[in-house]
Structures are given as C-alpha cells and as structure tokens.
C-alpha cells in the first residue's frame, strides 16, 4: 500500500492533490480506511486521507442541524449528539468489521460518501436523505459547495444527492452538514420466534402497514441468529424476527401492546426493553452476525421487501447461503462460500428476475477484480454516469475504477 497523505485542512488537501492532478496520476481517497477492502481494486500512486480534517464546527440542536469536517470520527459525532439526546436517524452501518477492516473508526464523510444506512433507513430515510450541505474538492482540485445548513433547500441542482453514495469517485468531501433528530426516550423490541423466512418477511411488512411507526425490522434465520452477541437471543436456537418501536415511554408501551394484538397470528412475541434493545440493534449496526471470514463472500442486495425471500430462494438453488433480512425484507445480507466469482452470475440473475441491485461487500481482491462489485448499469445509465464522472473528475483522478471499470 502506498503512503498515506493526511490533509488537515481543505486547503492542504487541495495542495496535496495539485501535483497529482498536474501529472494526471490518480489517487485513492479514504477517510479512516475502514472500507478500503470494499470495491474494485485500484491502481493509484498515493492515498489521501481526510481523517485529519476533523471537528464539529456547528451544532444547533434546536434547528436539528450539525456541520463537521469530513474526517470527524462518527463516534465523536454521535457522542456530541447523545449529549443533547439527539442522534443520526439513519443509524449509519459500520462495514469495517465484516469486510476485514477495523471497527468503529469510520468518519462522517465516509458515511455520506458511501450512503451507509442502518435498520432505521426503511422508516426514516438513508444517509443521503439527511445530507443538507457539502463542501468538496473535485477531480480538478477545485473547491465547490452545494446545499447549505437549512433543511429545505432547492436552490440549484441537488449535488448533495449526486455525490452521496459515489464512494469518493466524484469528489472529496471536506465538510458535511446534516440533519439530526431527537433520540427516542424509550425503545422496545418485539421478538417473534421460529418463523420461516417468507413468513418473517410477511410479518415485517404487516408491521410496517400498521400506524405505529415501526423503526426497525429484521429477520435472522436460525444459523444467523445463533451468531448474535446478545446471549439471550443467540441461545434461542431458532429464527427470530424483531420489530422495533421507539418513542416517548407511554407511546412505546401503548404501541407495543397494540402491535402484539394486531400481529397475534404470528405468535406471541418476547418483548425486550430499552437496554437490551439498544444492545441488539447496536450490534446489527456493525453486522455482528456477518463476521469477517475469508472462507465466505458477502453480498448486499436491495429489493422490494416482499421479494426478499424469493431472491434468496433463487440463489439457494445454486449455492448454500446464510442470510439476514433488514428493511422489512428489502435489504438482504447474503453470505456465500468463497469462489472465483463469489456467485456473482447466479446472484445477479436472481436480482434481475425479482428486481433490485446487488453489491459485493466482502471478497478477495482477485474476485473483486474479476467481477462487477457494484450493480451493472443499463448502457444509458452507464453513459450518464460516465458523463458525471467527466464533469467532476475528467482526468479520473479520484478512486478510479473503484465502483466501475470506466468510472
């Protein structure tokens, strides 16, 4: 791995980038590097890290807004929010541990650059939905801004959405401004037992159709549930389907009972309280049930919620899998045995039939060179993406090839 250049300010970052731009030599862009093993391998001469650009420089709890330099550790952001009983509603997921990287080091910039959202995404939106403003450096080394610090802003094109989820291939985020929300007073989780995948997903979708603002829904089949660090749930010895309710205390109590009644055909749930709930949903935020294992590859599939079990059934015809369903079935983490193509052709075929997209999150470097890591695009979308890359980064300086060979 090349040396890491650590910019402490946006200006310094521009200065560090300039000689490479001049020589048209591409660079790898990272935050802390926790997701360095995700994406297609790249040929770059240097690595520039934003991790030394840190600090929260604006936080207005009553306006539900915070601004931070992009290298600010997520833990620092979340600690500052917690001190005001607030949170990032999209509960960013940490892909470090599952992909063989470190745990808990991710930066706030990388959260938005990779649009990393957790279980609450289905209810309250993704990371990209909470991004209000950016300051960034493009592949020519020019600084630009988009959005701002206010929640409603349609002034000019929406480059925040354009840059979110582009994995550092369009621009280097230097500052991010984002929406925050109050943390719930109380959390409860209804845990249903021993349901097969399709019934578990049906239950989760039924729960989302109720007027109780269910904020998290996961289904863990038996083997995967057994990997939980949460001992009581891991020891159950069967599949669990968990529904989360968050609100003021009285509301949580009322809604928990109302849900239990409305969903009683699915059995009698165990109800776990705030402390245990926080522990359970907390470990899911770092994908504890899909630990790093060089013998397996991990896929992330997004599909229509009710299609989740069908996608999995299609894939299981070709290979053994261990899966976890999130987003009421719409997000599936799929572990498959390591192979030369990580099962890409069968998995992508299943996704093509049922709709959605698949991303290879964990695989050997050789596999990630050989198959498309991100979902292949239609020729027209590919052309538009190529056009955007050419606008932001015409010389392909920033993370070239990380998402797609020509991007």
């Amino acid at each position: 791995m090349s040396d890491i250049l650590r910019a402490a300010t946006a200006w310094e970052l521009q200065s560090m980038l300039a000689p490479y731009v001049e020589r048209k030599v591409p660079v790898e862009i990272i935050g802390s590097g926790s997701k360095s093993r995700i994406g297609r391998p790249m040929q770059t001469a240097a690595t520039i890290s934003t991790a030394s650009m840190h600090g929260i420089w604006m936080y207005e709890p009553t306006e539900l807004v915070m601004s931070a330099h992009s290298g600010t550790p997520l833990v620092q952001i979340e600690a500052a929010l917690a001190s005001n009983n607030q949170m990032l509603a999209f509960e960013p997921i940490d892909l470090g541990p599952t992909s063989g990287g470190p745990r808990g080091t991710l930066t706030i910039g990388s959260v938005f650059a990779c649009n990393s959202s957790g279980s609450r995404r289905a209810a309250t939106g993704a990371a990209r939905d909470h991004l209000l403003g950016i300051e960034a450096v493009d592949g020519r080394g020019s600084m630009f801004r988009s959005g701002g610090r206010v929640m409603k802003n349609v002034t000019g094109y929406d480059l925040c959405r354009g840059v979110a989820g582009s994995w550092g291939t369009l621009a280097i985020l230097t500052e991010v401004t984002f929406k925050v929300l109050p943390a719930p007073e109380k959390t409860a989780t209804l845990v249903y037992h021993d349901l097969p995948d399709d019934i578990g997903v049906e239950l989760m979708c039924a729960a989302m159709r109720l007027p109780y603002e269910v904020s998290g829904t996961v289904h863990l089949p038996k083997n995967v549930a057994g990997r939980l660090e949460h001992a009581a749930l891991a020891d159950a010895g069967h599949a669990i389907t968990a529904l989360r309710i968050e609100n003021f205390e009285k509301s949580v109590d009322y809604r928990t009972q109302a849900m239990r009644e409305a969903l009683k055909v699915y059995g009698e749930p165990t109800i776990i309280g705030s402390m245990n709930s926080l522990e359970f949903w907390g470990e899911l935020r770092r994908l504890s049930v899909m630990p790093y294992d060089p013998e397996t590859c991990l896929w992330r599939v997004s599909t229509a919620p009710m299609m989740g079990p069908k996608v999995v059934a299609s894939i299981r015809r070709h290979m053994p899998t261990e899966v976890m369903y999130d987003w009421s079935g719409g997000l599936i983490w799929i572990e498959v045995p390591a192979s030369a193509d990580a099962g890409a052709s069968d998995i992508r075929r299943a996704v093509a039939v049922h709709g959605g997209h698949a991303t290879l999150i964990r695989a050997d470097q050789s596999v990630r060179s050989a198959v498309e890591v991100f979902q292949p695009q239609s020729p027209l979308a590919e052309r538009m993406m190529g056009g955007l890359k050419a606008v932001f980064d015409p010389m392909r300086m920033l993370n070239p090839g990380r998402m797609y060979a020509n991007i």
Partner: protein
C-alpha cells in the same frame, strides 16, 4: 417586470406551421394545441407577471409519445418546456416563444399500488393529492403536501423537489420517491430505481429530482406511500411577538418532540386567512403557531398537553387545541389557502427563502423594513420547523412601479435570507424568478459545475432554457452567444 428572457430564435418562429404539422403527425391532432386561444392558456404559470406565447403545446398520453416528440425537437434543435399543472410560483413552467410546451397532464393514471411493499407507481401528470386519495382507503398517504396539492402534478413536484407543511417529519419529494422513468431530450428513456430502496451506482434519481425540468421529462414515478398515523390534531398558539413564537418552536424541538407540522403566521397573514377560512385563529396575536401532532387519541392529548406546558413559558395570548375534525380541517384550510386568500385582497408576490430558525426575529424585522422602504405591505407565512419562510409582498399589478418595487423588495429579502445562513428557495425552485440572484448564494465555480451537469443530460441546452442560471453565465441558453 424586470427579468429578461432569451431572445427567441427567428428561424424557429418562422417554422411554426411546419413544426406544428410535424407534432400533429407524431402525437395526433387532438394532442397538439396550435391555435392562439388554446396556446394562451399555457402562456404563464403561477408567476403570472411573466407571459410568453409558446410555439405550440403538445399533451402526449404515453411515455413513447413524449420520447418521439423530444426526439423530433432534439433533431430539429427546437427548445422544449415541460409542464405539469403550471402552478410554479417561480416561472419554472414559463413558456418561451420559440419553444414547444410538452405537458404531462393527460398522463395521470395510477399504474400500481402495492401496500405490502409500500409503493405506488403512477404517471407523472397525476395531481399530488390524487396519489393520497388513491391509497387513503387503506389508511395510506403520499407525504409531500405542497399547498397547491389539489392542482399541482407530481411531475412538477419532482422537477422542483417540492415540500409542504408536513415535511418536517416526512421529508420532501426527493425523500419519498424511489424510481422514475425519464425521457431525455434526445428521446432516450432512462429507467431509474424501482420499488427497492437506494440507488445502484450514482444517484441519478437524486440529481433528476429538483433539476427544474432541465435534465429530462419524468413520465412515471415509483413513490413511497406511508401508513397514516391513527389520528392527528393541530393546536393554535398565539403570541404577542414573533420572538416569543420562534423561541417556543425551539423549545418544543429541544424537548425531543418533532410535531408533524409547525406553521407560523404573522398578524397580516392571520387576519386575511381568518376572514377567509373562519378557522378560529386568534385575531389579537402578533404571531400564530399551528402545531400538529399525530398518534392515538391518548398520545395526541399527551403530546398537546406537553406542548401547552412548553408554550406557557412564552406568555401565549392563546392556547387552543382543535375541537375536532371540523375545526382541524378549517385550521388547515386557512393555512393552505393562505395564498389564495391573500390573492383575493391584493396581487402578491410570494417569496420562498429558508433561514435558520434562530434568525427569525431579525429576518422578520428586516423584511418589514425592506417592504416599508419600498412602500409595500407584507404578510409572512413560515414553515417554522424547517425554516422555510414565505413572505407575501402585496402590490398592485396594474401599477408598473408597484410591481417593480415588489420585485426589488423580493430580491432584497432573499439576499437577506442568504446572508443569515439560509437559501434563496426552500421549495418553489429557482425558475426565472431567482435566476439572477444565484450568484448571491453560489460562486461562479459552483454554478459552472452545475451547468456542466446540465450538459450531461441535455448537451444542446434545449430543455427549459433561460431558467435557473443567470443568463450571462449560460453559453447555450438561446442568448446571442448560443452555440
């Protein structure tokens, strides 16, 4: 009025008959409006001070027909202005004399409703409210709710990334759309997203939404539908100053309550809306908050009681919880018809800045001073929870000097919004109205980047030209330096 539009291209104007004939061949006689009276219906939008007779109007009824019309216009280098219901308040749908208006209003069908997956797939000419109406029997709704929701189309909402009174809790258009079918200017059809969450690859859908009809014409969309709460009820809080009302909003949010809506009106707005809707707004208040919460009956009572306690610290002149469904409807009717109610007593110019909530009192003072200096009256309506401010500047459209002063005052108000850390437009869009103010908020480098993105989707700058960017910065917008 003072804003200039690009000079129309004489050669295109001279080809009007030929172009109309070709459009009729492509889309059918009944889909093309070529006569003068018919075209006049489309000569303006919600920004009625500006008018331009379009070259022709086409109202296709399929995506393929839109594609064929655009393919023809692209080949012939004819400009196109997309149109939904024409309710834009910023001139976003203002025609150009040398442009064909392509309206999606005939494409208004619900194509699919899927409650399990919580999505609806609709044609983009459907009105905003019709989406909610289509799913309300099952207790669902489509969240963004601009005041014009009875008339405005989803297509326009997508173009402008519209918001509404309830987006504090539910977000704006971009947060509630999962997929779209987009016809690009060259007639190619781009399919984005679907019933699943989050984009594969770059978020082209996120870029498309809010691109003011300059990237493509969206003909279909997959939107999220949400299960409505068990119930909702607003309360009215009157205060003797806007400072007190603003501080009360901050205090509510500080306790961790996110009401589904927090609307603010100043005294002139209260008076006009009350006389129109008879909603029971307090006439003695300088500032009024409408705060709405959701949940079960007991939850609503708890939450409203909690808010009443918080408000008590700010010496409210009125604390009144809605007495029931009928008053709730009137309270919202008063707020949502505010623009119409004010329109009954005067011409008005509706501004749409966003500001940090903490700056509300000083911004309201500034607005008052600006309008006084131009000898104009103003009423303020404010989505207080999210900082989106709508000053309505009252003027006399029959008096050119009054109209010009209103525009000047508007520009000064929006500049003030930017100076305090806000932005030029929160939910209406830039259109022509705020086009020349863009350099107040962005650098030329920022705008140049945005314009290069426009060129990716529409290299010849044929779609909705003359909008969003100051004319002097655009090389393709049909001005004399056009390529």
């Amino acid at each position: 009025m003072t804003l200039q539009m690009p000079q129309p291209d004489r050669a295109t104007l001279n080809r009007r008959d030929e172009i109309t004939a070709e459009l009729k061949r492509i889309a059918g006689e009944e889909a093309v409006i070529a006569d003068e009276d018919g075209r006049r219906t489309f000569e303006t939008d919600g920004l009625t001070a500006y008018r331009a007779m379009p070259l022709a109007v086409v109202l296709p009824d399929t995506t393929d027909m839109v594609a064929e019309v655009l393919r023809y216009c692209h080949r012939e280098k004819i400009k196109v202005v997309a149109r939904g219901a024409g309710t834009s308040l910023c001139g976003g749908a203002l025609p150009l004399e040398d442009a064909v208006v392509v309206g999606v209003s005939r494409m208004n069908k619900v194509l699919e409703i899927d409650y399990d997956n919580r999505i609806a797939r609709v044609e983009s000419g459907i009105t905003n409210l019709a989406i909610s109406n289509a799913v309300s029997d099952e207790g669902f709704f489509y969240a963004p709710d601009p005041s014009s929701q009875l008339a405005c189309t989803l297509a326009g909402n997508l173009a402008m990334n519209s918001g509404g009174a309830h987006c504090l809790k539910y977000g704006v258009t971009t947060n509630n759309v999962l997929g779209a079918k987009v016809v690009l200017m060259d007639g190619e059809i781009l399919e984005l997203g679907g019933p699943h969450l989050d984009a594969e690859g770059y978020d082209l859908l996120g870029l498309m939404i809010g691109s003011e009809g300059q990237f493509g014409i969206i003909t279909e969309a997959t939107v999220r539908i949400l299960r409505a709460a068990e119930g909702a009820r607003p309360m009215l809080l009157g205060f003797d100053s806007s400072e007190a009302a603003g501080a009360c909003v901050s205090a509510i949010i500080a306790t961790g309550i996110i009401p589904v809506a927090i609307e603010f009106m100043d005294r002139p707005a209260i008076e006009v809306c009350e006389s129109f809707a008879k909603a029971g707004y307090p006439m003695d208040a300088e500032a009024l908050l409408i705060v709405e919460v959701e949940g079960s009956e007991e939850e609503i009572n708890d939450r409203l009681a909690q808010i009443s306690c918080i408000a008590a610290a700010y010496n409210p002149t009125t604390i009144q919880v809605s007495s029931g469904a009928s008053q709730s409807a009137k309270i919202w009717k008063g707020r949502k018809s505010a623009f119409g109610a004010i329109g009954r007593i005067s011409d008005y110019y509706c501004m749409d800045g966003t500001i940090p909530l903490s700056r509300l009192p000083e911004v309201l003072r500034g607005i008052s001073d600006i309008c006084a200096s131009h000898k104009l009256r103003v009423a303020n309506i404010f989505h207080a929870g999210d900082g989106n401010l709508h000053p309505l500047i009252l003027y006399d459209a029959n008096d050119p000097s009054s109209a010009e002063r209103a525009e000047l005052a508007g520009a000064e108000i929006l500049t003030l919004c930017v100076e305090v850390g806000g932005c030029l437009t929160g939910e209406h869009g830039v259109g022509i109205e705020k086009r020349d103010l863009m350099l107040k908020q962005f650098t030329e480098t920022d705008l140049s980047l945005q314009m290069r993105i426009k060129s990716v989707f529409d290299p010849d700058w044929l779609l909705n030209p003359g909008k969003v960017f100051p004319l002097h910065l655009t090389v393709h917008s049909g001005t004399s330096n056009a390529a």
